[in-house]
């Protein structure tokens, strides 16, 4: 009897290995979906970007036109500045806010609700709101005047500043909208840190700052990574808010150029494709580089 039982407990040596195959069957629809709707169009775009606008054949004409266009290099610089400054600024403010709201004082949930409002607004609404605000007779100048901060004749020409100032303006508007998003990710991460881990930091000699640096932030690393990578990728792809406030080609950035060539000018479809391939490449390279540097790939060995 017992002998028989132990035999049946042995794994089936013969027969179809269902256990091994089932995961692949389950994942198959997703893989097929990816191939049809993602890999195929991406490959087509890449191939198409190496063909002339009219006719067939292989050409690097599209790319050489882009690389010889001074606006492209301007877009690269602008995008770079935008990414570095906006991600840094947004992270610092979002992290600070998350730390404050995580304290759970009276009214912290109200503060959280208020802080989340900008996230709920679509970019078009944000663009409209701020471009009307920044107009010479817009609400921002009126507000400043009614508070007595500026006089009738000293209206600020927000939109007429230098390129750098204009970019800063965009960064601030963008930050206003993105900070709640980052803060939410960081706050969720903070709430996942066991209270006692932080308290142990204080008991074992940590000041607020030391505990933040040596315990809170390392334990928050997965959330920080998520927030930063999502934000870096979306920052590289900034365009709509800029176009809504300044229009096309006043502050050129990478994705804005893609849209420009696709929507605003006739017969530059292939050029727009080449542009989007470049943007995709930049995003991938930056993302992989970031994940590598921040140690997200190390996974099991260390963490």
């Amino acid at each position: 009897m017992t002998l028989n039982q132990s035999v049946t407990l042995e794994p089936h040596k013969s027969g179809f290995p269902w256990k091994k195959v089932i995961p692949y069957i389950l994942i198959a629809p997703t893989v097929i979906y990816y191939i049809i709707f993602w890999i195929r169009p991406v490959l087509t775009s890449i191939i198409q970007s190496f063909t002339p606008e009219i006719g067939t054949g292989f050409t690097v004409e599209n790319y050489s036109r882009i690389f010889n266009d001074p606006v492209f290099w301007q877009a690269v610089v602008n995008t770079g500045i935008f990414v570095i400054i906006s991600v840094t600024l947004e992270f610092v403010v979002a992290f600070g806010l998350a730390l404050i709201i995580n304290k759970k004082f009276k009214g912290s949930s109200l503060l959280l609700a208020i802080a989340l409002i900008p996230m709920a607004l679509p970019p078009v609404a944000v663009g409209a709101m701020w471009s009307s605000g920044f107009a010479t007779y817009g609400w921002l100048n009126s507000l400043l005047m009614s508070m007595g901060l500026i006089g009738e004749g000293e209206k600020i020409l927000f939109l007429a500043g230098s390129d750098f100032q204009s970019l800063m303006l965009i960064i601030i508007i963008d930050a206003w909208q993105v900070i709640p998003f980052m803060m939410t990710i960081l706050l969720a991460g903070l709430q996942g840190i066991p209270k006692e881990s932080i308290e142990a930091g204080y008991v074992f000699g940590g000041t607020r700052f030391k505990v933040l640096r040596k315990i809170t932030m390392p334990m928050l690393k997965p959330s920080i990574q998520t927030a930063l990578i999502l934000r870096i990728i979306s920052a590289i792809q900034v365009w709509l808010i800029i176009v809504l406030i300044f229009g096309f080609r006043r502050i050129p950035v990478l994705l804005e150029e893609v849209v420009f060539f696709q929507e605003q000018v006739q017969n530059e479809y292939k050029l727009a494709l080449a542009y989007s391939v470049i943007v995709a490449l930049v995003v991938s390279v930056v993302a992989v580089f970031y994940l590598k540097v921040s140690g997200a790939f190390k996974g099991d060995e260390e963490q």
């Binding site: 066991p194 006692e196 881990s197 308290e199 142990a200 930091g201 204080y202 008991v203 074992f204 000699g205 940590g206 000041t207 030391k210 040596k214 315990i215 390392p218 334990m219 690393k221 260390e302 963490q303």
Partner: protein
């Protein structure tokens, strides 16, 4: 090493909930004190106030005669083992232990030496380079212990440090921690809800209930000389049997009476009860302070049918029913007693405790 003194220490959560109320306690140098009580009685709250993790509503905390009530944790010269261990997952075992020393800016040679010492004391030398998630619960608990020991604090706080271990390991760690305390001689406050743990480890047990201290004393004090019915019912397994008795008088002699039997309080008990004639009292008697006889003896007070028996190897527990209440008696393993058998029961009179049914407090000699 150091002393710890709590004076009228109280903590109120919100407007009405008292986590701890009017705690007065003095812990002597090198003493191992255990706060014992059921869940929710305020042990953690008290400990967190000592650590500086919880704001004090009222009262004063002295460490070595110095008022530390409003100092942050790092300035109190304490260390703590948390119930969840709270070892930091992103640091190796050795970095976890070294963390408090690095914050004190000790030289790295000194740090290394102390980490080595304490890890050999807690038997975790082999795991120093591992991360906490690569350790079992028991090993993590040792890391937490090592980290707390390495700082050589004035006061050592432990909040249910063994409660997440399995039963066998828990008993083993009791002995080890006691041995460690022997070596380090650190003034220790240890929190637990487990009376066996408390009794086996403590120099002095402090029993808490509803945020207040109800009794403090040695293991024998809280076991044999209970202040009230709560302590008598809380300490001991099986707990104290409580029998409702009326004090009658017959032929000028006091008589303790209930529905099943009566007997005369003698010696000390007479002195205690002589002013209670005509009143109700509750008689508390520990299971091992009762005797079971197979034959009627002069010492036996009443007879009863055995309801069930629980053999325990070293002894047997005999349960009888009395006034709709189960009374348990601890008897020697032999002769075996069987359910259904009629047995004769006696008391060790000098071990009986009497309580006031209204206040539930112990009735002592006037």
């Amino acid at each position: 090493m150091a002393t710890l003194k709590l004076k009228n220490l109280s903590k109120r959560y919100g407007k009405t909930v008292w986590g701890a109320k009017d705690i007065n306690l003095e812990v002597n140098d090198k003493e191992f004190i255990v706060l014992l009580g059921p869940s929710g009685c305020g042990k953690t709250t008290t400990m967190r106030m000592i650590a500086g993790l919880e704001e004090v509503t009222q009262g004063i905390i002295y460490i070595d005669e110095k008022d530390v009530t409003f100092l942050p944790p790092r300035k109190r010269d304490i260390s703590m083992v948390f119930q969840s261990y709270a070892v930091w997952p992103h640091l190796t075992v050795s970095d976890n232990i070294a963390f408090p020393l690095r914050l004190k800016n000790l030289k790295s040679a000194e740090i290394e030496k102390r980490v080595k010492e304490v890890s050999s004391l807690t038997k975790i030398e082999e795991y120093l380079e591992r991360f906490p998630r690569q350790l079992s619960g028991g090993q993590r608990q040792r890391v937490a212990l090592a980290r707390a020991l390495v700082v050589q604090p004035k006061v050592f706080l432990m909040d249910e440090p063994l409660s997440n271990l399995d039963a066998k390991l828990r008993v083993k760690m009791r002995t080890e921690m006691k041995a460690i305390h022997k070596k380090t001689q650190a003034t220790t406050v240890f929190v637990t809800h487990d009376q066996a743990e408390a009794m086996s480890m403590a120099d002095r047990i402090v029993i808490m209930k509803d945020g207040s201290i109800v009794q403090e004393g040695s293991t024998d004090d809280v076991y044999f000389d209970c202040e009230d019915m709560f302590v008598a019912g809380f300490i001991g397994t099986p707990p104290t049997n409580f029998l409702s008795m009326e004090l009658g008088e017959k032929n000028g002699k006091l008589l303790l009476v209930n529905s099943a039997f009566s007997f005369e309080p003698i010696g000390e008990n007479y002195e205690i009860l002589k002013n209670y004639s005509g009143k109700q009292v509750i008689m508390g008697v520990r299971p091992e302070s009762m005797q079971v006889f197979k034959e009627k003896k002069p010492e036996s007070v009443f007879s009863r049918e055995v309801l069930v028996t629980e053999p325990q190897g070293s002894h047997q527990i005999v349960a009888i029913e009395l006034d709709d209440q189960i009374v348990k008696i601890v008897a020697p393993p032999f002769p075996k007693v069987n359910p259904g058998e009629i047995v004769h029961i006696g008391f060790e009179h000098d071990r009986i405790m009497f309580f006031n049914p209204e206040t539930e407090k112990r009735i002592r000699k006037a």
